[in-house]
Amino acid sequence: MIKRIIVFLILATIGYFLVGVVSQIPFGEDRNNVGDYYIEKTPTELKVSNAVTAIVVNYRGFDTLGEVTVLFLAATGLSSIMYRRRRKGEKQIRAKLPSSRIIQIGSQILFPLIVLLGAYVFIHGHLSPGGGFQGGAIIATATLLMLISYRKFKVNHNVISWIESIAGVVFVTVGFVGLILGMTFLENFLPTGELNDLLSGGIIGIIYVAVGFKVASELAGVIDTVLLNNRPEAKNEN
């Protein structure tokens, strides 16, 4: 009972201060001018046609670095929790039965197409919707398709961790080059090129390719860890 009263008091306090702040803002009126600035400056200053990408990678690049770090920590934590030492003679099996022929042939046809789509999405991140996170997630989905179609399909964790490390180092290095050249961290130091060209937008292309590789390898590693470290003998039989 006392606990509930305390919770209610805390909620009432938070609500009181929130109402105090929110009531100052006029309803239905946009007082925020930063959106107009972005929409106006992105095509002229940065030569990037996708304003979302310009905000995510250039104006808010440090936040993106934080997000990538969060994803990396989540993948590492999951691996350390799910890791299980094999008993002697125990095989790494993913499924008891192989999947059907139709699924195998279909995923063989679809796998390169999905990888191509993912690569397209993160290479053209500054021109069309999408970017590093989306492209990486799409490539991880392709890996998932192969993992559930073929029991013997293996993801090499050494290669994955190398790709991931190199991509992360590239991201941070691009940030520090800006510092070395006398600008701020992650500021654009390359020529911006022409609007709507593939090689435009300065550092955005480099960073998004790095983020795409990093996200794809991390998510593929997560799926492979979860799929391999299961316990088929503990499965309920009903």
Binding site: N50, V52, T53, V121, P129, G130, G131, F133, Q134, A137, I138, A140, T141, L144, I148, L219, V222, I223, V226, L227, N230, R231, A234, K235, N236
Partner: protein, 99 residues
């Protein structure tokens, strides 16, 4: 009246209906598939509301990856919702699992 509203309304009903079904379903596997449907509807909504970046993310992560990770978890544990009964304590639940 614009006739294009009708498929959007159908999408709204599908999304909200799957969300409600995911909550009330006793079988966790059905609930996970319904959650995937909610994500699918959401990604279409993001696309309709002109946010294709978010729609791509939602389609790849919400529909595919999250659903698959939940399904793998269900495969390793159980798909019955046992803890919804307040009278069964946690110890009894563990006993029931060992059968």
């Amino acid at each position: 009246m614009n006739w294009l509203v009708i498929p959007v309304f159908a999408l709204v009903i599908l999304t909200i209906g799957s969300a409600i079904y995911a909550v009330i379903s006793k079988n966790l596997l059905y609930a996970v598939v319904a959650t995937g449907l909610v994500s699918l509807g959401l990604s279409l909504f993001f696309f309709i509301l002109q946010a294709p970046d978010v729609a791509l993310t939602e389609a790849a992560i919400g529909v595919a990856l999250t659903t698959i990770i939940f399904i793998i978890t269900i495969r390793n544990t159980t798909d019955k919702e046992k803890c919804c009964d307040k009278k069964t304590s946690y110890v009894e639940m563990k006993k029931g699992d060992d059968k």
